[in-house]
Structures are given as C-alpha cells and as structure tokens.
C-alpha cells in the first residue's frame, strides 16, 4: 500500500484511493494476480473508514481492473500490455475532455495550452 491520502483535499477520499491504485495497476506496478490487502487491513493502514475502502474497490472492479473471489480477497486482473495501455488512455482522455473544455472556455488554442502545460509539468 503505497498510497497518500489527503483529508483536506476537495477530492473524496475514495476517489483518491481509486485513482492511485488504478494508476499503479496500469503502470504495471501491481502485477496481475497480486492480492490487494483485505479491506479491513487497508482501512486500518490508511486510517480511513471501511466504507471508503469498499467504495474504491468497487469502482476498481467496475472498471475490470480487479476481481473479487468471495472469501479469498481481491486480485489484480490479468491484462495484456495493449489492454492496459488502452484502458490507461481511456481513463486519461475521459478526464482530458473535462480539462480541455475549461481551457477552451478561455479561448485558448491547442498551441497555447501546450505552452502553458510545459511550464507546469
């Protein structure tokens, strides 16, 4: 569990959890078949509510990144590199649609966006 939780962030905790774990899976840091820690243990370690962890795990399962074996635990799905890359791009582009709509509302061209982005990155 290499997770950083911010209680003061505007982002819900369950979403912080979801984003960081899905990122780790799609980066290949968590190999297929890897067993996620039990919900209760994760909740204790991260000092968050069990409900919060459960909500994040559910979201991961809904996207097919993990699967649950009742009574055994939750495991990382076996995905090919292509599938992982595709899922990663899907998730990012979905977010980018929201992000770019904001930039566009200010009348920025793609070139201007890239210029500003390089500064920030």
């Amino acid at each position: 569990m290499n997770i950083a939780i911010s209680n003061t962030s505007e982002k819900p905790i369950y979403q912080q959890l979801f984003e960081q774990i899905s990122a780790q899976i799609l980066k290949g840091e968590l190999e297929s078949g890897y067993s996620l820690p039990p919900i209760r243990q994760a909740a204790t370690e991260l000092r968050v509510s069990i409900i919060t962890v459960k909500k994040a795990w559910e979201e991961l399962e809904r996207l097919g990144l993990i699967y649950t074996v009742t009574g055994k635990g939750c495991f990382v799905t076996d995905l090919s590199s292509d599938e992982m890359l595709q899922k990663r791009n899907e998730m990012i582009q979905k977010q980018m649609i929201i992000d770019t709509s904001y930039y566009k509302s200010f009348g920025l061209t793609i070139e201007e966006v890239i210029e500003l982005l390089k500064d920030v990155y």
Copy 2:
C-alpha cells in the same frame, strides 16, 4: 448573459457561473466598465437563487475582475491586455497543476500528454 447552467453537473452552480463569466471577461467579450445585470435579474434569468449569483459575483470581485458600487451595480474592472493575459494564465495554470498531477500519477511523460491532448482538443 450568455451563460449555460447545468444542474446535473458535479460542479456547484456558483462555480459554473464564476468560471464562465471570468472566461468572458478575460477573453475580452465583456468590456471594462460593462455593467453586469443586477443579481436579482440574473438570478431570475438563470433560474437560480440570488445567493448563488451573489457567491459567484463575490468570487469575481475577490479576483479583481469586477467591482461593486453599492446601490449602483457591478462593473467589469478596467484591465490592460497584459493584466488580463496574466490573470488568464494564472487561473489556467492553477487548474493545470491539478490536472497534470492526475496524468503524472499514471506515469505519463509530457510528450505523451501532449500527444493525447492533441487527439482530444
């Protein structure tokens, strides 16, 4: 008032208002000295509460984009093109810091981000 409100959006209404009007000001669509509609009229037109409009206006004033004359109304601040450009970039880069932290968590390089961004834009 060329504003589009989405009641289903996860974004608070007052923030939608704030973002759209600030974008219009910084794009130069609303000239300096331009009088914003009275908050009560705006509230009626947009079918939202007076307080919701007020909250958006307050945020605009806090950023120095408009100023209030009690008993008269709210007016667009007189800003030079340079000041407008700077304020615009500030607002966008502030948002970009959040956006890019998400991209980075997936291990993307700036080049990959730009590539995906061009597709989306």
Copy 3:
C-alpha cells in the same frame, strides 16, 4: 469644494462627505461664516445625488458645525479655537473607542499598538 469621493469604498458617500467637511472646518480651513455651496451645485460638482449631499449637510448641522439660513444657504458656525479643538477631540476619541476595542480584542497592549501605529502613520 476640495473633496475626494470614492464610489467603491465601503463607506457611504454621505459619510465621506460629512467626515471631510467636518475635518476641514475643525482644521480651520473653512472659516466661520463661510458659505457652503448650494446643495444642487455641490451635488453636480461632486457627481452625487442631492439626497446624499443633504444627508451630509444635516449631519454637520446636527453637530453644530454649520447652520442653515432658509433661503440663503448653509454657513460655517463661529467657534472659538478651544471649542474647535474640543469638538475635534470628541469626534476622534469617539472613533478611537471603536478602533481600540478591535486592537484590544487581539490582546495588544497600548505599547504594542503605538509601535504598530508608528509603522503605519
């Protein structure tokens, strides 16, 4: 009429008027018997409402700084230097009671207040 009006100030315009004129009288800038400009003329010059000027004049009269001669105009009251000094101190100390209650609420001693005041003055 050597008056500076700020429309964006939080202070009501009539009070800005009142404060500046009473200050000028008590500083001796406006001599006794001096005729204040007619309300309509002052309103035009200062670009404020007649009602606003009237309200300020009324306040000045209430404090005995000016008196009205119906059909003739408003004139600065004849006060001795002692009376002027006393009225000035009254007005200022009345305001100081409010000001110092704020400083006191932060637990400042009179010495600390004086120290900070010297920086600001």
Copy 4:
C-alpha cells in the same frame, strides 16, 4: 464558543464572528488542532443562521486560520508563534490604515494621535 453577538451593531454578524474567533486563535486561546463546533451547533448556540456561521468560517479558512475536513469538521491550523504574530500584525495594520486616514484628515500628527490614544485605551 466564547462569542458575543450584537444584533444592533452596524457590523455584520458574520464579521463579528470572524473577528472574534480570529482574535482568539491569534491570541493562542484556541490551540492548533482544536475542533470548532459544528456550524449547525454554533448557529443554534449563537442564535444565528447556519449561513451566517458558514460565511465567517469561510473567511477564517481563506486566511489560513482554520481548515475544513468535509464530513469531519473544522480545525484550527497549526501555526508557529512567529506566523501567528505576523498574521495578527497584518490584520491589525490593515485596519490601522483605515483608522489613521481618519485621524490624518483632521490634521493630527502622530504624537497627537498617541496622546489621545493613551487617554482612550
């Protein structure tokens, strides 16, 4: 909650709240990590509207004196004595600029102001 609200004061209630709590924090009366009462409870105790309390809390957060954990409550920020002293002086000097402009308009020197201030304090 050691707060005194005056409904007859010209000062808005939310500002009275803000000033008194910020003073208590910067005096060290409310220690870092201290949990402010829930806004609904505070509203009931102080016999004001929830929104009024919320407005005061928002201003406190904007100045970095408290931070909000959604679903948990609002807590006093951990500040060093230096930071507290600096913030205190900032707040007071900001007000002093307004106060002294009034004194100056009467032609008072800094020495005269200090003299009168000692009487009042």
